[in-house]
């Protein structure tokens, strides 16, 4: 492609209506007229949806027709749409760093809906500032960074194990880190699995064996990750094992730390009366074949869908139904009641399972949050009083064993992991993916992925599907062998550097080193290591450091344009 002449800025401005999202609050035609008279703007137009097929063609057409060498889009946020518009520029031979983004939706129309005039004025300011920066944009080349062909999987439950095996079988070296002395996670305690009543141990045992003997998997038991630095391609991992620390590098990371069942201390006599257990404790008992008594009562949603924990834990209804089913199956004379608030038995298999449980004689009684069941008894629970919502009266049931169905809650380490990996948590403390629908197993941080109950409670089927998805995503960069780093980095003008060393001290990435040159020492920045934060550039007393794509001149031009 022929080289563009960049010396005389020819700026094209594309202003988006975003349907009514912008157009209804900001006077877009007015903005177009305004943009047209800004210096160096040779073309301005408006698009109904700039990100649509049509809008993208408009950018490409405009660039060719007006021989643009800088493109500015005023629309939404660069955090979601910059890659798209940059790609459009590149398709017509314009380096992607010659593109500038102005946000008039998230920063104008959506937040000043009641003040359209002021929103329009503000949009004009922002466009004027953007044009001022665009005028000074320079093309940049991205460097390719090598990717270490290995991955870290945090958490050795079924989901982490499946992800690790999947990646290892594709030929990548895997570090699998588990905080407990054994692999298997929650499934180690579980008896049989809904909806197929398969023994959990039969599922995990072969997996554990495959992992232990796999030449590509190194398992670190009784270990936790203590520090992570670096970026996609080269994460440096520090492990804290029992008494010994370890260090290694990986290209990508999968988080599969699962979740923990809530211990309902203080509720319905739990912790005080000896015949009150959680579903997990019941599973352990059933696994050992211990007796359960004739009258078993289960209370669902204990600690779930309550004001202090509003979410539904998804797996618990099915867990209760499964255990009730299994009790009736092995002892048809037993009486089993499930006291529930709603029943979540979504999908084909679960609903069928629920019906079978009813046919086996499991009884379901609905209670309400306002009138929860009451326990009767001193040492142990003897009876349960419950207000039957449908019969509209209180009934009393005999009870040999009371089983509390509690939700899965975020793993205790999530806070730590969120800080260490710079990934988000949702309002409940579960780890949060980048986008629920478009990037379901990825974090917003490049190269880090999530699967299983670490995100929100999943059953095994869902968790394992997510493990495969995360493994496929994590394998992408490993297979490519390189990633492109943004060309936003710092460069030194050695002639102006006084060798003071301030920048070297400030860089958190050790990208800067003073090196001898002629008779003095000058700053040298390793561009493969520099992450482009700009901290050094902001501090250099000699103004010798320039930050690509966010130069002093560009930022000051924006400031000046605002007040011009």
């Amino acid at each position: 492609m022929e080289e563009k002449d960049l010396s005389h800025p020819r700026i094209g401005v594309f202003i988006c209506h975003c349907g009514i999202n912008i157009g209804a609050y900001v006077n877009v035609p007015d903005l177009v007229e305004y943009a047209k008279q800004l210096p160096n703007v040779v073309h301005a137009e408006r698009n109904l949806f700039t990100c649509s097929e049509e809008g993208i063609s408009a950018i490409k057409r405009g660039t060719k027709e007006y021989n643009l060498n800088r493109v500015l889009v005023a629309s939404c946020t660069p955090r979601t749409h910059e890659p798209l518009f940059r790609a459009a520029c590149e398709e017509v031979g314009l380096n992607k760093y010659l593109f500038e983004f102005v946000n008039i939706r998230d920063q104008c129309s959506w937040v000043h809906m009641r003040e359209p005039q002021k929103a329009t004025e503000k949009a004009k300011d922002l466009i004027r500032m953007g044009v001022a920066k665009a005028r000074l944009l320079q093309p940049l080349e991205e460097i390719e960074m090598e990717v270490d062909p290995s991955a870290l999987v945090i958490g050795g439950g079924i989901v982490g194990m499946e992800a690790a095996l999947n990646l290892a079988n594709q030929g990548f070296n895997i570090h699998l880190v588990e905080k407990e002395p054994e692999l298997g996670g929650t499934l180690r305690s579980i008896n049989k699995l809904f909806p197929i009543n398969q023994e959990a141990v039969k599922l995990i045992k072969p997996l554990v064996e495959q992992i232990k003997s796999h030449p590509k998997i190194k398992t670190h038991l009784s270990s936790r990750v203590s520090q992570v630095t670096g970026f996609i391609g080269n994460f440096n991992i520090n492990l804290d094992g029992k008494g010994k620390a370890e260090q290694f590098t990986v290209g990508t990371i999968i988080v599969a730390v699962g979740a923990e069942p809530l211990k309902p201390t203080g509720q319905y006599g739990y912790g005080k009366m000896n015949n009150v257990l959680t579903q997990l404790e019941l599973e352990e008992r059933m696994k050992k074949g211990k007796s359960l008594g004739q009258n078993v009562i289960m209370i669902n949603c204990v600690g779930a869908r309550v004001p202090e924990r509003t979410y539904c834990s998804r797996i618990c209804c099915m867990t209760a139904i499964k255990n009730a089913f299994l009790i009736k199956e092995s002892n048809p004379k037993a009486k089993v009641w499930i006291l529930h608030r709603d029943l979540m038995t979504y999908g084909v298999d679960f609903e069928t399972y629920y019906r079978k449980a009813m046919e086996l004689g499991v009884r379901f009684i609905r209670y309400s949050l306002e009138r929860p069941p009451e326990i009767i008894g001193d040492e142990k629970v003897e009876n349960i009083k419950v207000y039957h919502e449908l019969w509209r009266k209180e009934i009393e049931l005999p009870c040999d064993m009371l089983v509390l169905t509690t939700p899965l809650i975020p793993a205790e380490d999530n806070q730590n992991i969120s800080k260490m990996l710079k990934v988000s948590l949702d309002e409940f403390g579960f780890l949060l993916e980048a986008h629920l629908k478009l990037r379901p197993v990825e974090f917003a941080m490049d190269g880090i992925y999530i699967c299983g109950s670490a995100r929100w409670p999943t059953d095994v089927t869902e968790g394992v599907s997510q493990a495969y998805a995360a493994a496929a995503k994590a394998a992408g960069p490993l297979r490519m062998g390189y990633v492109k780093a943004e060309a936003i980095n710092a460069v030194v003008n050695e002639d102006e550097c006084s060798g003071c060393g301030i920048c070297e001290l400030l860089c958190s990435f050790q990208a800067i080193e003073l090196q001898p040159r002629d008779n003095k020492r000058v700053s040298h920045i390793n561009e493969a290591v520099c992450k482009g934060c700009g901290t050094c550039g902001a501090a250099c007393p000699s103004g010798a450091i320039s930050m690509h794509h966010f130069t002093d001149e560009q930022i000051i031009a924006q400031v000046e344009a605002l007040f011009s």
């Binding site: 959506w110 002021k118 936003i488 934060c533 400031v559």
Partner: protein, 138 residues
């Protein structure tokens, strides 16, 4: 000065506070329209000279918004910003500018409401202070 509308520059880091501003948008939180955002990669990029420049040519206030301590995408850029602020305020004092005209705040990607709150609160602070005495037209 009843109808004084302050002109405010907000330097936002790309990873947390800019994302917080986006969230204020997607959540349709309405806030005062006096803020003009300049995106930088990290709050550590904000050279005090940018702030002085803005104040000297017409800004009535400047916000520097970054990730919470410990959350900076570049590990410690925000700590370095934090350490620069007292120096910057000292310079302001020497120039005879109220130090309240510059404010550093931490806003995470999930704090859209906080972004709006800071924008409103800061606008009010500047309204109370009145126009900056340093601007060219004042």
């Amino acid at each position: 000065m009843d109808n004084f509308e302050p002109r405010i520059v907000a330097f936002c880091c790309n990873w947390c506070s800019y994302a917080g501003a986006d969230l204020a948008g997607t959540s349709r939180i309405q806030y005062s329209p006096n803020i003009r955002v300049i995106r930088v990669m990290c709050s550590g990029r904000v050279n005090p000279l940018f702030v002085l420049k803005a104040l000297s040519i017409g800004a009535d206030g400047v916000l520097i918004l970054g990730c919470h301590p410990g959350d900076c995408h570049y590990l410690e850029g925000n700590y370095k910003t934090l350490r620069r602020i007292p120096l910057l305020k000292k310079m302001l004092k020497q120039l005879g500018i109220e130090e309240e005209r510059v404010r550093l705040e931490w806003i995470s990607a999930s704090e859209g409401a906080k972004f709006a709150e800071v924008a409103n609160n800061f606008t009010q602070t500047i309204k109370n202070l009145g126009p900056s005495s340093l601007g060219p037209f004042k």
